[in-house]
Structure formats: C-alpha cells, structure tokens
Amino acid sequence: MRVSWLLGVCACLGLFFLSCGSRDRTAPGTESIMFSSLGNQPFLDYIYTISPDGSNVQPLLSPELDRSYKYASGNSLRSDLAVTVHEKNSRGAIENHLYTYNPASGHWQGLVTDGSVGEALMSPDNSKIVFALGTNEDLGSFWIIDLKTGEKRKLTNGEKDQDTWHAYGTWRPDSQETAFLQLRRVTGKGVETKLMASSLSSGATTVLLGPEVGVTAACYSPDGTRLAAITAQGLEIIKLPGLERVVIVPKSSFAGSQPYPPGSLIWSRTQDLIAFSLRNEQLAQSQLWTVSTDGSKLRQIYTEKDARITASSFITR
C-alpha cells in the first residue's frame, strides 16, 4: 500500500512538473518571435516573446520609471541582444539609446547614449550591430558598431539630401550585407521608398527595388538566396540576384488591415515561417501574423489594442 501511495505521489508530481514546465520555457533550440509593443503613453513600451503558435506571451523587457524599450533584436536569449532604450539623456531630454543586454546574465552595456537611435539590428554572428541614428541635421542614417573593437562608422554614405533618411534594415545571414529602406519625402505625394543593399566588405550600395514597388519591409531567407518584402501588392518573395517576384499573400488577404509599422517582417531560421504585423484602424488593433513561405497557413497569432507591434527577430530560447 505504501508503495502504491508513493507511486501515486510521484505520478502526481511528475504530472505537475510536466504541465508547469512548459509554461515559461520551450525546449532548448526552439524559436520564439521577439517583438516590440509601443504604447499609447510615454514609457509604455515593451519587448515581448511569443511562441510561433501564439502561446507563451512573455514580457522580456517591461517599462520602468522613465525607461522603456522600443526595439530589441538578436539571435538567442542566451547571447547579447541589441536594445533601443527610451530614456532621458544627461540634459534631461528624452532620447532613444543603444545598449546590449544579455537576458541570461542581466548585464547591460551602453553603446550609444546620445542621439535618437532607431531600430538596432544584431548581426547573425553576434559580432556587429547596425543601427539607425538621427540628429538635428540628419533624419536618419545607418551606422555599424563592431562589438569586439567598439569601432563605429557610418554605413550609409553617399547621396542623401535633408529630406531623405534610412531605416528598417535587415541582415543577410552571412553577416556581410544589409538591406534597408531609403525613404524620401516628395512634395505633394508623401514618402517614397527604395529597398537598398549595402555590402560591408566593398562598401557598395545598390538599389534592389525602386519607389514604384512601394516596399515598406524586407528580410532575408535563412540561406540568403531570397528576400521577403511587404510591398504595395502584399507580401512577396523575391529571388536573388535576379529579383523575380512572387506575391504569396495579396493585400486583399489582409482583411481590412494594413501592414504597419514599416520594417516589421522576419523569417525563421529553422521553420518554414515568416512573421509580420498589421494594423486594423477600425478596431484600433495591432496584429501579429505568421505565414508559410508558400503563402499557406496564414494566421493571426496575437492582437493588442492601442499599441504598435513590430516583429523584430526569431530568437532561440
């Protein structure tokens, strides 16, 4: 009887741990989607992780007094993330600064603590960060910082007038090239976009897609042979280097929502999955969606009211 009692207790405890163990942690090696959620008040900006099936929504970085988190990117929760922190500078003005943050150790390191940093993109090999930086004279350019040497240089030089800025970038998986948007105000029309690519080794910048395409987000496939892009037609796959385009999700499938904000498009390294965000104005709702690379299995996995969701990385837990 004592044996059966002990067996029963063990079975119950086993069931308990099996059930609860899956709450906060997925098995090692599995991916989550990391996304930022910008709120409708100052310092109400979070970084969350969520499983690709929409379960396990977990705040990774939550606001504190006079400090919130506008963007985070990375490859693993066991290595450094690049984080854009919304905080006051030494003069008391509110700015966005660039830090690295290691979720495992809790260690923060300030890299750029003066100016208006936009999204910061950790390279796939964790050696560099590309980040957008704006000043009074420059609406935004991409910079690159080497995490070993601390060397920092402007990545996007060349022809850029005061109405042009660069934002919404992505790394090629070999960490040797970035793609990003060049945005330009056009009198009477609004903003037009070009998709550019910049080689780290040669420094050459090329135009991949012109303003007629209306691209607002792009990301590389895990093998670097294709790009996914949100364009005026919907979600497209673009084969490199020939730039043959296939629409996998037409804009009519967005069901009254529109892609927003720009730059919210990521491609899983281990699964046949792309994630992106939409905004439904009527519902005042931001939505996180996933889809297979052939356009099948389109599904909304998360919604939030009164917030702007940006999918930033598939990340290993």
């Binding site: 609860c20 939550s62 606001p63 704006g134 903003v191 037009e192």
Partner: protein, 142 residues
C-alpha cells in the same frame, strides 16, 4: 484494510486533482495583452502617408509640442506638472512628455516637418488621468 485502501486512493486522487488544478492554472489560455498599466504624460505620434505602399510611415525629426489650457479635475498620482513642452519626434515618430499635467485640456501640435509636404496640424483634447496619445497623419496621397 478496506478503509486504508480507500484512504490511500483518496490521497492519490486528491493529489492528482490538486496537480491538475495547479497545472491548468500554470498553462491557462495564452494572455492576449499582458501589458501592465504604467501610464503618464503625453505622447505625440506623427505618421506620413506613403506614395505607393499600403501603410503610413512614422516621421522622425518632426517638431511638436503642447500647451496646457486648463484642468478638468484633479491630477492623477502619476501626473507631472509640466504645462508647456516642445521637441521633435524620434525615429519611431514619437515625441514624449511624461511629466505633462493629466486630467487636463491640452492643445497639441505636430509639424511642420523640416520641409513640405507635412504641414502643421494641431488638436485640442482632454488628456485623461494617466495620460494619452495624440496621433497625427499627413494625408496627402490622392
């Protein structure tokens, strides 16, 4: 013996029931919005329409500001005491003033941007206790 067996069965079943209850609490339905209420001040957000694409673009470097016009009621405990502010939008199109007085009427403006086509826009509205957001968008696409 029968009583002892029933007792042990009861203990096992009770533990099983407890573990199931605890486990179901652990798993639960996926939270849809785990956002905590941490709110204060005024956020101005400026978008600009885009020529070809489906979505607007957050506009960086756009000047903005606000002027307190009058109190509606008592300020919330989170409220600051700033009655006027100026600044420019960041890379996300946001201009924040967390120390703005809340539960008050504000006139807020955004723009003009450095150059056309985004003209100045303004709005007068009550900022509720805890703060609020003003969204501006340039609709210049035909």
């Amino acid at each position: 013996m029968m009583i002892q067996r029933n007792r042990s069965t009861l203990v096992i079943l009770s533990l099983l029931a407890i573990s199931v209850v605890v486990a179901s609490d652990c798993k639960g339905p996926a939270p849809r919005s785990p956002r905590s209420p941490f709110v204060r001040g005024i956020r101005i957000h400026q978008d600009e329409a885009i020529t070809m694409a489906l979505a607007p673009i957050p506009l960086p470097g756009c000047p903005g500001g606000g002027q307190w016009l009058g109190q509606v009621g008592q300020q919330s405990p989170q409220s600051g005491n700033v009655g006027v502010f100026l600044g420019g939008t960041d890379q996300y199109g946001d201009l924040d003033q967390p120390d703005a007085r809340d539960n008050a009427i504000w006139e807020v403006f955004s723009g003009p941007a450095k150059s056309p086509p985004c003209p100045q826009a303004s709005a007068t509205a009550t900022v509720p206790p805890g703060g609020g957001i003003f969204n501006f968008i340039c609709h210049l696409v035909g």
